[in-house]
Symmetry: none
Subunit: 153 residues, 4 copies
């Protein structure tokens, strides 16, 4: 009888979850943790960057521009995040493909420069991060560090 | 008894965690049902319209243009859906406010014409529908009928 | 007899003129058939894509985004269809030309990635299809299969 | 002795001029304090908003979207801040002017809805804040509270 009740409860839980047709998302608290980790890494390296984070719908949830960062990075950080979100992959992948000869990809509306990474949870995309301000390799280091520290890599 | 309590706690935890970090969304199957209901209503009235549906992130999931519909409605239907999604309300609310004197709202990037409705599930916005092609009052009737038939109103 | 010949000639002239002033076009019913064929192929391969179809004027007539498809494909599918329509050729032709050295073509407003095909009827262009979501080679397979199944290739 | 006095006067003048060629600006630390004050007020009222802050050049320095805020507020909050910055006045002033009959102001590239305020230091504009998410009157209360708490009003 006990086993039956336990099994019933477990099934009920799974059914409820399935029926609910829900999926994970990114809230401001988690986005803030990711941005804090990015900013801490940038400060430790004495780098100035814009940190941009999009949510599960590709909409901006947080942006910070560190003092002294070039103004153009406000847009670039968001564009890198947009590309990483829209194509569920690091912007570095597109950068490498174009460098290695797939020049035709330039005709797509993408920003193919390292520094943008998708954020996954349970294999579902819940957002992305875009960093711009220093070299694109350094931007990429900040993005990766941020996701690792926040537990997303 | 211990097993039972343990299982109950496990289920409770799974539910709580899942609930806290997930939210409902709109899939193509449901969007298709909504669009079918809209199209059926339009055919029954002999009206030609564009049907546009956005998902929980405000991104286009389905668009249909019925034969003979004015080309401008391709964009208008999407703009109505965008406004309904972005502001979680019927575009008719903005239309009425401006008509009744709140003329300053025209300075906002909205499309304040009836025919756009948000789609809610469990009080969470999971998308929106935008209809354009006939009079805006008729567009609104199609949008409402579609959501009612599909069980969202 | 003279009257009969005169009447016949008049009718023939009217018919010819009328025929000369019409051209084939794509309606929603045919676009739906093409999209259904594309979706069926995608499902059979377990691929997720956006299906986009333009009509004889190059205007969007139908769009479907299958669950889980990357958001960026909403725009890319439409851009591939636009390029295929505007230049009456497969987007793969431009991709190959650029890969083979005609890099200057990047300065044109085209999307030179496989997955876009024009739709012809009686040697007249009546629309185009754009597929995006998996690899561009796989996108191309879906586009071709859809047109073949629907009787346009 | 005359030479010494002359040299001293020259140095003093140069220093003063140099000093006169700087102006106050807004850094991320101060912008964060203002945003924290805005967010605290919003939480205390159970309101969900987007907080947007521009610097002395009118460029975005910080943006936060609280959970559940309508997506359209991402753009509106930035537009309100832009208008407050570009015209050195509260967006409510434009809203009131249009409501009172100056409808022609709609033809200007402004967002005439309460919730945007310029930030001054020593009578020099160093940035602006834009709030969007609840009613425009409530948005305005958050903006004012934020600047008062942070010592700018």
């Amino acid at each position: 009888m006990k086993n039956f009740v336990a099994t019933f409860l477990l099934c009920f839980t799974i059914c409820t979850l399935a029926y609910a047709q829900t999926q994970p998302y990114l809230n401001l608290e988690t986005a803030t943790k990711i941005a804090d980790a990015a900013q801490e890494k940038a400060i430790s390296e004495n780098w100035n960057v814009v940190i941009s984070i999009l949510d599960q719908g590709g909409n901006l949830i947080l942006l910070r521009r560190m003092d002294g960062t070039q103004i153009g990075s406000i847009e670039i950080a968001q564009l890198k995040a947009k590309t990483a979100f829209e194509f569920k992959r690091s912007t570095k992948i597109f950068e490498d493909m174009i460098k290695e000869g797939s020049v035709h990809l330039i005709t797509m509306p993408i920003t193919a420069v390292e520094g943008g990474l998708p954020i996954f949870k349970d294999d579902v995309i819940i957002g992305s991060i875009g960093i711009s301000g220093v070299t694109s390799a350094q931007d990429g280091i900040i993005a990766e560090t941020a996701l690792r520290v926040a537990g997303f890599m």
